[in-house]
């Protein structure tokens, strides 16, 4: 069997880009390293272009160990977009607070490569490799502001807990391998269909839920996320919330719907309970938060809960719902965190109270924050409403309570989202001087704003794309 390298164009290009950025950082004198970010963005844009053009060049490598299908392509495009937006939106923040560390951009690129590998992984080893590449990159990124105690603390917490979750994931994978005798997801499905549930498999499944639940920050495996989100440099938080979460969902769907669909009876209720707990705890604990990054961390836990609803259904429509939601979630989250970073640049605070009168100081930033938060709350006509609609619509008989809970908790979420809005729009600023955003940040915010509104009003095309990608999921 021939090995078609052209299927790996995106991965190879990312690898080359990462290395080039790294080497460039080494050779360029430290005074002129500011262009490195722009170089990274241009490179990522190029890779994004290649990926979009090649999206229908599909196939399998090494007997299904690596799957290049529409599903993977969708997530790859999503990761690349997220990486571009995150880097592009926070040049200033990185300059001022992360310092002149040239490894920053190449590490972001390697984290993205890890996610890309995860989206295409067709077997346990590849999956684990991609996940580790992503996680280790993130551990470095979280601790990047090590001169500041919080960042370092977050880094160490993330290092230890991620190692723990990796161990559990790996253990789960090995148990599934033990029960089925194969590491290729497609063959696992056949083995499970033939052999049925065994104790080994059930324990393995639990471990996998725990390990991946950690990555998507689902309750009760979420404990790390508020501390890490708060301590990490804001662009990293943003990327963690968007990229790491989406990649882990991509893997979750592959494993559970692609490999363990036969055991749906066993895991559906488990996932449903995790979804319910995430919605409940995430939204409730977000209420008393005073730090915006912590608040967004809890909100992101709740969002993971909503997305898990799509997994419970385990149908094509469910997959479509997850993909659609993950996509719009990128823009709303990056938009909100970009505002947080921009505001921090000026006032050096993440306290919600310090956002008073933001609309007078930076009208665009306040508007974007408003729209992104309302989208997360699921208010029509914004994208989040359509996303939740697609997710909740898929829910099958017996799990209707999940939808009711989701709707009630969405209502609760409006409370703490609007509290931020109230502070921004109603209160008078302590210091009325305007907050400069810079053109790159302005553009990023604008993209987030427009996408969030347009996807809400005209979701058709994206829904269509997600639908096609979801169909390709079942072709293996």
């Amino acid at each position: 069997m021939s090995f078609d390298f052209s299927l790996l164009t995106t991965e190879l290009a990312m690898f080359v880009l990462g290395l080039t950025t790294f080497v460039l950082g080494l050779v360029v004198p430290s005074g002129s390293r500011r262009g490195l970010g722009s170089f990274a963005v241009l490179g990522l844009l190029l890779v994004l272009g290649i990926t979009v053009v090649n999206r229908s060049h599909q196939g399998e490598l090494l007997n299904g160990m690596y799957l290049v299908d529409g599903y993977a392509a969708f997530f790859k495009i999503l990761f690349l977009m997220a990486a571009i937006l995150v880097i592009f939106g926070s040049f200033r923040y990185v300059d001022q607070h992360v310092g002149n560390h040239f490894e920053y951009y190449s590490t972001v690129i390697f984290a993205t490569l890890g996610m890309i590998v995860m989206a295409s992984a067709g077997d346990f080893i590849t999956l684990y490799l991609g996940m580790e590449l992503m996680t280790i990159s993130f551990i470095i990124l979280v601790a990047f502001r090590f001169i500041e105690g919080k960042s370092l603390e977050a880094g160490i917490k993330y290092l230890l807990l991620a190692a723990m979750s990796s161990a559990v994931t790996l253990y789960g994978l090995s148990l599934v391998y033990g029960a089925t005798g194969t590491i290729i997801i497609g063959q696992v499905a056949q083995a499970v269909a033939g052999g049925g549930a065994s104790p080994l498999l059930i324990v393995g499944l639990t471990m996998l839920v725990a390990g991946l639940g950690f990555k998507v920050a689902a309750v009760p495996f979420h404990m790390w996320s508020p501390d890490v989100y708060e301590g990490a440099p804001t662009p990293v938080t943003s990327f963690l919330a968007v990229g790491s979460k989406a990649a882990s969902f991509a893997v979750l769907l592959r494993l559970f719907i692609g490999g363990l669909a036969e055991l749906h009876g066993q895991w559906a209720m488990l996932v449903a309970v995790l979804a319910a707990l995430s919605m409940l705890i995430g939204n409730l604990v977000a209420i008393p938060q005073t730090n915006i990054k912590r608040m967004l961390a809890y909100s992101s836990i709740a969002q993971a809960g909503y997305i898990l609803v799509g997994l419970v259904a385990a149908t094509e429509a469910g997959i479509k719902g997850v993909m659609f939601y993950a996509f719009l979630y990128v823009f709303a989250t990056v938009g909100a965190f970009t505002v947080v970073a921009a505001v921090y640049n000026k006032i050096h605070s993440d306290e919600i109270a310090d956002y008073a009168g933001l609309v007078q100081r930076a009208p665009l930033a306040a508007t974007v924050m408003l729209v992104c938060l309302l989208s997360m709350a699921g208010i029509p006509p914004l994208a989040g409403f359509v996303g939740k609609f697609y997710l909740f619509k898929t829910v099958v008989e017996g799990y209707m309570w999940l939808v009711y809970l989701g709707l009630i908790m969405s209502m609760v979420s409006v409370y703490y989202y609007l509290r931020v809005v109230l502070v921004m729009f109603r209160d008078d600023p302590k210091d009325p001087s305007p907050i400069e955003l810079g053109s790159a940040t302005t553009l990023t915010l604008f993209i987030a704003l427009v996408t969030t509104i347009v996807l809400g009003i005209y979701p058709g095309p994206l829904a269509e794309v997600a639908n096609m990608a979801a169909q390709s999921f079942f072709l293996h």
């Binding site: 230890l160 807990l161 104790p199 639990t206 725990a210 404990m223 790390w224 409730l284 409370y415």
Partner: protein, 644 residues
């Protein structure tokens, strides 16, 4: 060009919408740029509409088979919504007329609104208004139409309340919005029923499915209910009795807005909607009768009010209500052709008269009472004579436009009566009497305002060219615009009709009757308000029949009735509910909110910040899940217990 226009008809509403966005986000600080952008957009729409009109009206194929194309907007199983374009002679005529009148009104506004601090904002609203109306006209399905319908409502709210510093303007805007909203609610219910019963809101599909309604398992009674619910929307929007109350108050907006609302957009939207869904109404005779009687009654009712009003724009407003009644009447007796024809001619003469009234108000610094005017025609010849043309048109003097369309309506009503609808004669009588009243109150206004003695305290002057130019264009149209639908060469009904085209013989007797009535009305006005310089007879009449006069002047106390109803019944009910809300609902809600907040605060303490706790929670959770999965579920328990 023609083919391009036909294929890109969606550009017609899109261009003004774009102008709105540009003005709001870019050109707001520069008034002249804003108005130029706005006019350029609507003018392009007009050019495009003209090309479309040329394309449609040279190809008879469009009569039977409209050009429809659409785009999927969103959907789920069993419910798909498209946005699309539907071009047939009716919608094309509307596109052409709306874009033309809107263009003229925007040009006029550059003069009328000169120097207003909110000049740019005004033009952005006008653009949005035009965009929504054009979008409504072009819609290929009822949901899209409803969205546009609401947008039109929103724009009317913004424009009627444009002078936000005036309390009366704010109140009028609210009244317009809320009153039409009552109608919209009925309409929305009708649309929901249609979607549920027929599974589509697409006009073409509905037109095929509705006649076979029995196959969809509904009775004639339910279909009648649907039709009447749907009709409630137009009752609100087109100012039909009893929801007409907002329309005269809407005069609080700047005069170009009144012209736009009352001539070409908004109010005719209701008539257009009924025209568009006539296939539904035609199935249910009961609903048709409701439409016809609502129309005829509104026509007569509003005309009797207009007779005693004193403010120039208010007289015009009631005349609009009355003329809209005519259009509804025509639809009710089943003639799309006559109704649309009257809509067409009315747009011209009513826009003309509103803009003329605006010109007068501009000259007299907003002194609105016609009794305070007089002899204006000498100082304002263009405004005056074009106004006279409008007056002749609305009174129904041949060959002016209004004569042909009104005559057509009378003719179809009479025919309806002859075909076994005995009540049709009542409709006919109401319509003919209204024709007489129309001529009378219109010419009463004209004699009082433009002729007779000049008032020394007034210093009128002719308006600038950008205000008189639209007047002249509209006057020409008001004069000759009806010639395309004369009974001898009825080009109009060949193109725009529902069912079989109407081939009535020219009814000379009827024409004579309506001319005589019109002349009688004008003559009476002449005697009372021109010949009799002191207006003694008129005052004498008012004194001799004080009750009649007061009822008419106070618009039959409908507003007062609504107010009384609101104050007693609604407020009393509200008080009961208020108590319930404060003591029961709020109690529950506050309690729930309290619980939510407290639990949030409580749960927060689980987050200790200690790494050990986090790891502990993680592993305990894994353990708990394994145990539950293993022993909670009977099948798994069996497996765990040894695989039996």
């Amino acid at each position: 060009m023609v083919q391009f226009a036909l294929n890109h008809a969606w550009l017609v509403p899109l261009l003004p919408a774009l102008a709105f966005v540009i003005i709001v986000f870019l050109t707001r600080p520069w008034p002249k740029v804003s108005s130029t952008v706005s006019i350029a957009a609507i003018l392009s729409s007009f050019v495009l509409s003209s090309s479309i009109a040329y394309g449609v009206f040279t190809n008879p194929g469009f009569i039977e088979k409209p050009l429809v194309y659409s785009l999927r907007w969103f959907g789920m199983e069993g419910f798909t919504v498209h946005v699309g374009v539907m071009l047939d002679p009716t919608s094309t005529m509307m596109l052409f007329m709306v874009s033309m009148v809107a263009t003229l009104i925007q040009i006029y506004s550059t003069g009328y609104m000169e120097g207003d601090p909110q000049y740019s904002v005004f033009f952005s609203y006008l653009s949005l208004f035009a965009a929504s109306m054009l979008g409504l006209v072009i819609s290929s399905n009822l949901l899209q139409m409803f969205v546009m319908w609401e947008l039109v409502g929103l724009c009317s709210f913004l424009l009627i309340g444009f002078y936000t510093f005036k309390i009366s303007a704010r109140e009028a805007a609210k009244k317009a919005f809320i009153t039409t909203r009552i109608g919209d609610f009925g309409m929305l219910l009708g649309l929901l029923f249609l979607q549920i019963v027929f599974g589509t809101l697409d006009l073409t599909e509905l037109a095929q499915r509705v006649p076979a309604f029995e196959q969809f398992g509904i009775s004639l009674g339910l279909l009648t209910l649907i039709a009447i619910l749907l009709f409630i929307g137009p009752i609100g929007k087109s100012g039909q009795f009893p929801l007409h109350v907002w329309l005269p108050d809407a005069m609080e907006g700047p005069t170009p807005v009144s012209a736009l609302i009352h001539a070409a957009t908004m109010v005719v939207a209701g008539v257009y909607l009924v025209g568009r869904t006539l296939f539904l109404f035609a199935e249910v005779p009961g609903a048709m009768e409701v439409v016809a009687f609502t129309g005829a009654f509104t026509a007569l009712f509003a005309a009797t009010i207009a007779v005693t009003q004193r403010e120039i724009k208010r007289i015009l407003a009631y005349s609009t209500v009355s003329q809209l009644g005519y259009m509804m009447l025509a639809l009710g007796v089943g003639s799309l052709s006559a109704s649309m024809f009257h809509l067409w001619t009315h747009a011209f003469f009513k826009a003309l008269m509103f803009l003329g009234a605006g010109s007068v108000l501009h000259a007299l610094h907003h002194k609105a009472d016609v009794w305070d005017m007089g002899g204006l025609i000498k100082k304002m010849p263009i405004t005056g004579w074009t106004f006279v043309v409008g007056g002749l048109a609305i009174a129904g003097i041949p060959p002016f436009a209004g004569f042909w369309s009104k005559d057509e309506i009378l003719a179809v009503t009479l025919e309806y009566a002859k075909h076994g609808h005995t009540l049709g004669y009542v409709l006919f009588l109401m319509a003919t009497f209204t024709a007489f009243l129309t001529a009378f109150y219109m010419w009463r206004m004209i004699f009082l305002a433009f002729f007779g003695k000049e008032k020394p305290e007034n210093h009128p002057h002719e308006s600038p060219w950008n205000m008189t130019f639209p007047l002249i264009v509209l006057a020409v149209l008001a004069a000759v615009g009806g010639l395309i639908g004369t009974p001898w060469a009825n080009w109009w009904s060949r193109w725009i009709h529902f069912g079989q085209p109407h081939h009535g013989e020219p009814a000379i007797g009827l024409m004579l009757l309506s001319v005589v009535l019109a002349l009688a009305g004008i003559g009476l006005a002449y005697l009372l308000y021109y010949k009799d310089e002191e207006k003694r007879t008129a005052q004498e009449l008012a004194k001799r029949y004080p009750t009649l006069y007061r009822i008419s002047f106070n618009k039959y106390y409908v507003d007062e009735l609504y107010q009384w109803f609101t104050r007693t019944v609604v407020d009393a009910g509200a008080n009961v509910l208020y108590w319930f809300d404060i003591h029961v609902v709020d109690g529950i809600v506050n309690g729930l909110a309290g619980i939510t907040k407290t639990s949030g605060k409580g749960l927060r303490y689980l987050q200790t910040g200690k790494l050990q706790t986090y790891a502990l929670v993680f592993f305990v959770a894994v353990l708990v899940i394994t145990v539950v999965l293993a022993f909670g579920d009977p099948t798994s328990a069996g497996i765990m217990g040894g695989g039996k």
